[in-house]
């Protein structure tokens, strides 16, 4: 019993220490913001690898999720003769929930794991130590641009996912199942609220951007510098990010939509 308690206590202390290190790292990264703004090229390079290289999976997923929503929505709504509201259902689902959440989950799988692996490998091959010994702060030079790129990329990717999803729903609903084109768009235009729906969705995706990128960077930076350590960091990035996104989504939804 005592051993069990001691193990539990050690695990608790280790988790608290890790959380503390993660917070200190976040503070240190924000400290690198002025230096990064003086060299925007660093940010642009990371926007490419974090954001642009994630576009394909986001675009393809967005279209298919929208198509599935169109299909499922049509069959359910048509039972009540309400297929005219298909556009609202597709758009509201995407703007409020699926856009930010699925984008964040895909982002964690594609960009987050890549970030953690890259930073972990830089650590294990002493590149970060090398930067320190060249009098270059690796937290500012390597991590800050990646953090900002992740935060900026997420809402843009979520917007792309949502837009393509709406078109995916339109393709199935209007193109294949015969819903009226004008009704699809008009219902969406009249029922989707800028503040209630769109802005809240954007806020969610920004929060998810901060959390997913922070987790990925911390896991890479804090990993044990071995192949096993990097592998664990990559796995943890995806698992922790996914859980954090789903948990935060519930909290944010509860706060935003009462």
């Amino acid at each position: 019993m005592i051993t069990w308690l001691a193990t539990l206590g050690r695990a608790g202390l280790a988790s608290a220490a890790r959380l503390g290190r993660a917070n200190l790292l976040m503070l240190a990264m924000w400290g690198g913001l002025p230096a990064m703004l003086r060299r925007p090229r660093l940010l642009l390079d990371q926007m490419f690898s974090v954001g642009v290289l994630t576009v394909l999976i986001i675009a393809v997923s967005g279209v298919f999720v929208g198509m599935v929503l169109g299909l499922q929505g049509y069959y359910i709504l048509s039972r009540f003769g309400a297929e005219a509201t298909l556009g609202v259902m597709v758009a509201a689902s995407l703007v409020r929930e699926l856009g930010p959440v699925v984008t964040a989950l895909l982002f964690a799988g594609r960009a987050g794991s890549a970030l953690a692996a890259e930073i972990g490998l830089m650590k294990s091959t002493e590149q970060l130590s090398g930067l320190e010994m060249m009098a270059v702060n690796p937290q500012h030079r390597v991590l800050t641009p990646r953090l900002v790129a992740g935060i900026l990329s997420m809402p843009l990717l979520a917007a792309m996912f949502t837009t393509l999803g709406v078109y995916g729903g339109w393709f199935v609903g209007v193109g294949l199942l015969g819903v009226d084109d004008g009704t699809y768009w008009a219902q969406m235009q009249s029922q989707i609220d800028w503040h209630e729906d769109v802005l809240n969705g954007v806020i969610k995706s920004v929060v998810f951007g901060v959390v997913c990128t922070w987790i990925a960077i911390f896991q890479g930076y804090d990993c044990v510098p071995t192949s096993e350590g990097v592998s664990r960091a990559t796995t943890r990035t995806v698992v922790h990010s996914s859980l954090a996104v789903l948990g935060l989504d519930f909290v944010l939804t509860a706060l935003m939509f009462n």
Binding site: S129, E132, M133
Partner: protein, 273 residues
């Protein structure tokens, strides 16, 4: 940041250094002086903390007790800004080379110049090519680190380490895993760069023959302490059993062949857990 005149002949002064990793004692009261202008070798069996010592000198690790002065400055009492200023005057060659894998050879060597100087691109190009020429790799400036052999990667790292004309360079196991030709090249380069650029070199290694062939002064570290110090000639003539075992490469001695374990028969006939 000005050097202390009282320490001008000694570049690195270590006094009473204690450092632990968890419960393991790495250094237990190490005193060590590294003079200016020469090649100082720090040798010892694997796991004695040679690389740790370089990280302590560079301020990447903090000692539990004791002081480390570099050019008269107490490394661990410096502010971050002053520590970074000091590091600009220190070069370090890591065991893996630590080249930035997303940059070409040219950009790796240019990196510290771009970070710490306001030289125009034309001047940076000339300096980079000269540094690469010094290590014999001017023709490889367009290659990526993945295209280099281990020896070439270390020579590029050397060129990067001397890019800002530092007062000292620390070499962490520069000869490990090298073929005889690469090893010979690296040995000669370390000595030549030291003499031509009038810098001080600290070579951490367990390659006895190569290291002693270029060292002016050598320290042997074992069990957290300096067990022998002096010229290579003095070390070769040493009768200290630990030094002799290390220099002659004897499998058994003060550093036991067997890692601590219970008696073999007790271990063999014990029931499996």
């Amino acid at each position: 940041m000005s050097p202390n005149p009282a320490t001008t002949d000694i570049l690195v002064r270590i006094r009473g250094l204690r450092f632990n990793r968890g419960s393991k004692v790495i250094f237990d009261g190490v005193d060590l002086d590294i003079p200016r202008g020469g090649v100082t070798a720090i040798m010892g069996p694997s796991g004695t903390g040679k690389t740790t010592l370089l990280k302590l000198i560079g301020g990447q690790l903090r000692p539990d007790a004791g002081t480390i002065e570099v050019d008269g400055l107490n490394v661990h009492a410096l502010s971050t800004r002053d520590l970074y200023r000091l590091r600009i005057r220190m070069g370090m060659l890591f065991q893996s080379g630590a080249l930035l894998t997303d940059l070409s050879v040219f950009d790796n060597v240019a990196y510290p110049l771009r970070e710490h100087t306001r030289l125009n691109p034309s001047m940076i190009r000339k300096l980079v090519l000269l540094k690469l020429e010094a290590v014999g790799l001017r023709g490889a400036h367009h290659l990526m680190p993945a295209q280099l052999s281990g020896g070439m990667a270390r020579r590029v790292a050397m060129a990067r380490a001397i890019a800002l004309d530092p007062m000292m360079i620390m070499y962490d196991e520069p000869f490990t895993g090298q073929d005889p030709i690469s090893m010979g090249v690296l040995v000669r380069l370390i000595r030549r760069l030291n003499d031509a650029a009038d810098i001080s070199s600290i070579v951490v290694s367990h390659d006895v023959k190569e290291t002693l062939s270029i060292a002016d002064l050598a320290y042997v570290i074992s069990d957290g302490r300096v067990i022998e110090a002096g010229s290579p000639h003095k070390l070769n003539a040493s009768e200290n059993p630990s030094t002799r075992q290390f220099i002659d490469g004897l499998p058994d001695g003060p550093v036991a062949f067997h890692y601590g374990a219970p008696a073999l028969d007790a271990d063999l006939f014990e029931d499996a857990p």
